[in-house]
């Protein structure tokens, strides 16, 4: 009995913090989402129902945020995963300078995304008296420059995805490189003795062996990309609706706080919709990976 008590005492701080800041909020967010016309100041509401969900789903800002988020997910997840795989394969086939390259590639992981986002903004932004560095490159190659920060939608989406990929690559390269390093070298030796081409070795040995890692990265990549927010703020400023570049998470915070804030009910409904989307996609991913992945 005394032993039991002592164990709970050791666990008490963790349970207390988790209870107040995780379990209670989890229940509470569902309650909020169902309380219609919640008034923050008076802490009262007019009814219980799906009114918040209805409001959110018919809000043009939310629809825009939904569209932006899906585009970011669909573009950045396959591109960053594929590119990381390519770079990891390159890294694992060289010896000299390998450490140096690895260190450089990991650098974006330890940088403040808000701060470096500002650098990207400057690289991509035209002002009256200065041209974006990137446009210099484009005109040199024979194209016409465009303002990527305040210009057309596709240009903003491009820089958005480019920056997102830049930010998420270090993690993926690192994980894939260590997965490649853990593949048993005997398989390669045997394949080479049999005279298999390197393409065949990749498709028949390497990829199947690292497929659990690849699927892990795809799943976490989807989850991370659906929660995109800080990178957008870094590039386009805090008023993402004005830039037309808001995301679902951005919408949640806008509803909660700031000039458009004070509606925890709408925020809760939007957050639950996001959770439902992420949950569904993760479930589909897991089902697919169960059919495809070969666990050794």
């Amino acid at each position: 009995m005394k032993k039991n008590l002592k164990a709970w005492l050791y666990l008490l701080p963790a349970i207390l913090f988790l209870g107040v800041f995780m379990v209670y909020p989890l229940v509470d967010v569902c309650v909020y989402s169902l309380e219609e016309n919640y008034n923050f100041a008076r802490q009262s509401f007019t009814g219980v129902g799906l009114g918040n969900f209805h409001h959110v789903l018919s809000d043009p800002y939310f629809v825009q945020a939904l569209k932006n988020t899906f585009l970011i997910v669909i573009i950045t997840v396959p591109l960053s995963t594929g590119l990381s795989l390519l770079i990891a394969l390159g890294l694992s086939s060289i010896k000299p300078l390998k450490n140096l390259y690895q260190t450089v590639f990991f650098l974006p992981y330890v940088t403040n995304t808000l701060a470096v986002g500002l650098v990207f903004m400057i690289l991509f932004k035209n002002t009256e008296y200065s041209q974006a560095m990137v446009n210099l490159l484009i005109t040199r190659l024979g194209g016409t420059g465009v303002d990527f920060i305040e210009g057309p939608y596709w240009a903003k989406m491009f820089v958005m995805c480019f920056y997102t990929i830049w930010v998420v690559m270090p993690f993926k390269i690192l994980i894939l490189t260590s997965a490649l390093a853990s593949v048993n070298q005997d398989y390669y030796k045997a394949a080479r003795v049999d005279g298999a081409s390197s393409g065949r070795i990749f498709w028949k040995i390497t990829l199947p062996m690292i497929s659990p890692t690849v699927f892990y990265l795809i799943i976490t990549g989807f989850i991370g990309a659906f929660k995109a927010y800080s990178d957008e703020v870094a590039l386009f400023g805090t008023n993402l609706n004005a830039a037309g570049m808001n995301t679902i998470v951005g919408y949640v915070y806008d509803m909660l706080y700031g000039d458009s804030g004070g509606f925890p009910g709408y925020a809760a409904a939007a957050a639950l919709i996001l959770f439902a989307i992420v949950f569904t996609i993760t479930y589909i991913n897991l089902t697919m990976s169960r059919n495809k992945v070969q666990y050794m």
């Binding site: 770079i87 260190t103 990991f106 993690f171």
Partner: protein, 281 residues
């Protein structure tokens, strides 16, 4: 044989070329921010087409960054926030991990399973109520309000528990025979032995704290409590005047340096730690 050797040299060359291209993509923004931060403001403004070098580097922008905006204040706030959050987190997670790893009690597996299932809850879902909680506790614009919701990490409890469990049972029995208390055993034996893991956890948490943006932004509107992320956003929108890009870049460099130095010192530890289970964001 001759053919394939030539072929492999060619493909080696191609691999190095591609890796170098990506290295340039990664490093160029860093080069650009340092370069711009050293450019004289007037010179910068005359460059319609930005130049890749500057003839007269100046440190003026750095002194501007500290004098015309409260960058020092932001840095100090971030250091306080990071140290307090990380310290408090260790106080919470070390005993919890010890309880799961070494203490026998009823419902241990059930509680641990509940903990693990909480790992799936996205922060976005609970942040709404946490915001209301902190507002109701009158903790906006306080360090405590920023710190409290981020002092537990189930993942780090899990990581530490695994580590504690790997320490041989005999040590524990021997300590018990000697009459050592659990707390003393934890602090004098377990913690020192697990030092590598603890250092990794501390470093990862420090990186997370240094870069945290969303929660501190929700909970503070008084610039006296801004952290660097929020500070840089404030500088961008209301700081030097929108036009003084070189001074902005100087601030960006100052904010980026601490973590880059930390990374260069603990490169192996950080990369090993992240590949064991860190994620971005």
């Amino acid at each position: 044989m001759e053919m394939s050797k030539k072929g492999s040299r060619l493909s080696k060359g191609l691999i190095y070329f591609l890796l170098t291209v990506w290295a340039v993509v990664v490093l160029f923004p860093f080069y650009w921010m340092i370069l711009t931060s050293l450019k004289d403001f007037r010179v910068y403004n005359t460059e319609y087409i930005p130049r890749f070098f500057t003839a007269n580097p100046t440190l003026q922008n750095y002194s501007d960054a500290f004098t015309s905006v409260p960058l020092g204040r932001y840095l100090l706030n971030t250091v306080i926030f990071t140290a307090a959050t990380t310290g408090l987190m260790m106080v919470v997670i070390v005993p919890a991990a010890y309880a799961f790893a070494r203490l026998e009690f009823k419902g241990r597996n059930l509680v641990f399973a509940l903990f693990l299932s909480l790992m799936m809850i996205p922060a976005e879902l609970v942040i709404i109520t946490n915001y209301v909680t902190i507002v109701n506790w009158n903790m906006r614009n306080t360090y405590l309000g920023m710190i409290l919701p981020s002092v537990t990490s189930i993942f780090y409890i899990y990581l530490l528990k695994e580590n504690f469990e790997a320490i041989p049972d005999e040590l524990y029995s021997a300590a018990k025979v000697d009459g050592t208390s659990d707390l003393k055993y934890l602090l004098k034996v377990m913690v020192p032995i697990s030092q590598p893991t603890i250092v990794t956890i501390v470093i990862l948490k420090v990186i997370e704290c240094w870069n945290s943006y969303v929660w501190p932004r929700l909970i503070t509107y008084d610039p006296n409590y801004f952290l660097v992320s929020n500070g840089i956003q404030e500088i961008r929108e209301n700081g030097f005047g929108k036009e003084n890009i070189p001074a902005m870049m100087a601030a960006v460099v100052v904010i980026s340096i601490p973590l880059i130095v930390l990374f260069l010192f603990f490169r192996k530890k950080i990369m090993a730690g992240v590949s064991r289970g860190g994620t971005k964001g």
